[in-house]
């Protein structure tokens, strides 16, 4: 029996490796993903000037009573360009989206929105990551879902696609009759 123990051990390791490989190829298992700490916690403050109207301060508390998305984006982020069309669709169907323009140039950000449309109710301008760090953001795009009580209930790292919307976000909007 002892002489087979090495062989058995080897096959157990191969089996484990195959299992983990399968996991990484399916669904959302990504070893580099950092799960958010904010699910179930109050949404952090934003408190930075708006991209267009610099005298206006974008505040989390302004959205109290609504279910809304907080989308972190930048013109330097290719995935943000790809998800933009779907964000336009969502905003046209009534989903409130507040944007955070992260680490960007005001002019270039406005340019992109002129070209591709503006799905955002307001956009916080965050050139030095002060808001991003407060929300535990580590890449773009990232989208948080905040409920009417101001609590973060869902988050997605990566572009929002119809699949992501259906799996992660839609259920929080259906209950509301007026979004």
């Amino acid at each position: 029996m002892a002489r087979y123990s090495v062989l058995i051990g080897f096959f157990i390791m191969i089996g484990g490796f195959a299992y983990m490989l399968n996991l990484t190829n399916t669904g959302e298992y990504n070893p580099r993903d950092i799960p958010t700490e904010f699910i179930g916690r109050a949404a952090p403050a934003i408190n930075v000037p708006d991209l267009y109207n610099e005298s206006e301060v974008v505040k989390t508390s302004d959205m109290k009573g609504k279910v809304w998305l907080f989308n972190v984006w930048g013109t330097w982020c290719p995935e943000c360009w790809r998800e933009h069309k779907y964000l336009m669709e969502l905003s046209r169907s009534g989903v409130p989206i507040v944007g955070l323009n992260w680490r960007d140039e005001r002019a270039e950000a406005k340019d992109m929105l002129t070209k591709m449309g503006n799905p955002f109710l307001k956009i916080g301008y965050d050139p030095d990551s002060s808001v991003a760090i407060d929300w535990g953001v580590y890449g773009a795009p990232e989208t948080f879902l905040i409920n009417a009580e101001g609590m973060v209930v869902a988050k997605h790292a990566g572009g929002v696609t119809p699949a992501v919307w259906q799996e992660k976000f839609e259920k929080f909007f259906i209950k509301n009759s007026n979004f």
């Binding site: 950092i34 700490e37 680490r103 990551s129 760090i133 407060d134 580590y138 890449g139």
Partner: protein
Amino acid sequence: MNILKITLLIVLAFLFANQASARFETHDFATPQMEKDYNVLVQELRCLVCQNQNLADSNAELAQDMRLRVYKMLSEGSSKNEIVDFMVLRYGDFVMYRPPVKKSTLVLWYSPLIFFAVAAIVVVSYLRRQKKEVEQVVDKQQQKKAKSLLDD
């Protein structure tokens, strides 16, 4: 042999060259203690973009901004622990470059030691078994010799 020694020296030199903190940008520190604290913090916090580097080594933009945040918080009077807690509250334990020793990380920390202990036990028992076999063989040879002598 000379080349080997030179290579070893160069590798060692790189290993110890990591103490500098002003690798990318410089800050003006109000006190030398603040500078010390800053150095400790940027080596203890992980870059979330280049996840195998600490904040001291990474020049990713988020790392730059996190370093700036650390500097600002130190200047405002936060302690090292408060700053680490601040980052962990937002990014989780992963932001600590060295994983904390908790129940959930005991396996991470101690499994190498356990593997090493198991390997040591296996090697020692294998060597002991070898030794016993050799002794038995010698014993048998001596018995044979004794028998042949007696038979004469």
